[in-house]
Symmetry: C2
Subunit: 170 residues, 2 copies
DNA sequence: TATTGTTATACTCTATAACTATA
DNA sequence: TATAGTTATAGAGTATAACAATA
């Protein structure tokens, strides 16, 4: 029923006004009070994240890549042969989750696993040539997506905002 | 494997240093480069949201209430007899999702449904006396949770931050 | 005994589609 | 014909637990 949702996070509404802009219905829904919600930091962060997330999903949509995969590819590119446990630690997800993501990426031939010679428990992750090319495209998509939001802020404001957010996730 | 996770969102790590603080392992994991991730607005919002979400889950934990339910109760309290479709619009989730949440709350005797006399399609939502009492407790929990994060900011900074976030989710 | 990777399983949150009853 | 609510189903994202190989 919700329009643009492709994800577990609820749909942001660029059309919040839709309902109100149509002809006045017979028994209109009365306006509601939103209570204390808008003053809560957590509520606002959550709503912002949902707005960003949905835009990102829409942007990545055609590429069938999910946000987590993008982060993973960026890390893999910056760290040739990174161990899966390191990806898990850095992205703050369980290692079992990483295995699933890598499995898919490997099937797509975007990454390969190669056993480490230093510690044979480790399966180093390497981007393939295809993976690198695709990541470059993804980065462009990501930059466009970011721009749609960062342009809401001056350079100073953006620095401030990111600084604030880092205090929350130290 | 991840410690405090009770949720689909990945675990924030107050113990990120754990791995490094133990005795130096035989073949230590090499330090990694995080690439461009920390400069992305979306990445930082997501990480902040996860940190807040996990703390909230932990705080609400014993009460077996989820964050979405809290918002719903606040709205129901501020709007006696609110229609489920209004809850869905305000919280930006599908109406089918709201039905599920209300079903549980009704089983717990925290809310009741009552058919509207104005428009009999509507099932107005009302907090029970029990629901009101529980919500008061929840609010205290929520305030403590919020305080753990808002104290990271001065009053001015907090106003600024919330203002920034509202630009992102208009 | 601890760690890396793996498999199998299950849970939370949410959406989609089709339906009923009312309007 | 449209809207509020409902039901049934599915999917994304993630965790947990148990295990093998290696350290």
């Amino acid at each position: 029923m919700k329009k643009d949702a492709t994800n577990h996070v609820k749909t942001r509404n660029p059309g919040a006004a839709e309902k109100r802009s149509t002809k006045e219905p017979v028994a209109p829904l009365p306006p509601i009070s939103v209570g204390l919600l808008p003053n809560l930091l957590g509520y606002n962060v959550r709503r912002a994240q949902i707005a960003l997330w949905r835009d990102l999903i829409r942007s990545l949509g055609e590429r069938k890549v999910r946000p987590a995969v993008f982060s993973l590819l960026v890390l893999a590119e910056a760290n040739h042969g990174i161990a899966q446990i390191q990806l898990a630690n850095q992205l703050d997800v369980d290692k079992a989750t990483i295995v699933g993501l890598i499995d898919r990426l490997q099937k797509q031939k975007w990454v390969t696993r190669k056993q480490s010679t230093v510690d044979r428990r480790r399966q180093g992750i390497y981007l393939t040539a295809l993976g690198k090319r695709e990541l470059e495209k993804l980065k462009r998509t990501m930059i466009e997506h970011e721009a749609r939001f960062t342009r809401l802020f001056s350079a100073d404001e953006l620095m401030q905002l990111i600084g604030f957010l880092r205090r929350i996730h130290p």
